[in-house]
Assembly symmetry: C2
Homo-oligomer: 178 residues x 2
Amino acid sequence: MPSPSFRLEPLPGYTPTIGRLVGILLYTRKTTLAAVEGLSTAELDHLQDDSSNSIGALLAHIAAVERGYQCVTFEERPPSAREQAAWEPALTLGAEGRRLLRHEPLEHYVHELNEARRLTLEGLAARDDAWLERTLRAAPAMNAHWAWFHVAEDEINHRGQIRCLRARLGSAATHTRA
Amino acid sequence: MPSPSFRLEPLPGYTPTIGRLVGILLYTRKTTLAAVEGLSTAELDHLQDDSSNSIGALLAHIAAVERGYQCVTFEERPPSAREQAAWEPALTLGAEGRRLLRHEPLEHYVHELNEARRLTLEGLAARDDAWLERTLRAAPAMNAHWAWFHVAEDEINHRGQIRCLRARLGSAATHTRA
């Protein structure tokens, strides 16, 4: 796996435009993992207020969004009913996420993220820049390039929220642990 | 100005890779403006807690970051002392931002964002994909492509925070107005 850097440029193993996109995905993931490094299960489960998502639920969301876009882009189909049911609490967040996405250590979420990412990079390495620009049959309003940018965009959006939540964990984590 | 869409592809008026990047910048800005639509000055000034940034300060930050990267990429120089001083509260946020970035209506922030963006699009339209990949003299760790992705990335990060802050304005805005 190429290292994230402060450059976007073609990457070995990918066609040029896909390589630049992979640079975005890798850099984004690096910052997400940095934002959650060292968090305990209690901190990952903490709810800042009644309508908050926990940091753990946001990590599960990031992995589920990536899985969903693998179906839409690589397999050109919407998620199956079974997949949708499995990913629903993480995709939707809110009350169901608060109820179900809990009691897991950081390693659990990192494993989910790594497994999703491995398949994404395999899928992108097997495709080319012409594919990247094509309209998606399972989502005709978008092309594959936008879809994969959006996966990074959604992750960055939630990483911004994770940073805010983490900065407020001080008293919170103490409270959750008590 | 081309319309944002759910496609990333070459855009008229830009070289191909710059066009895809402009697609990211435009889509990102559209979502930021949607996230703050209709907010009052009191809501833009509201501080969620003692260490929060207001939504107005985050909008000022987004515009200041874009101005800063115009210096670094288009003019190949760091911001001047005068520019740095003018942008400092917005770039740094925190206590100075809380003190100084207040009492402005949404139109003020949108004007700042639009003016910054106009110069960005002019600068990108005047350059080509070879330029986009070049190392920046004023920031040798990065190339121009990463720098402009980072402008969008920072905006998306703060848009995520703005969405959280706005969702919690209900009681907050009432309190600020009281």
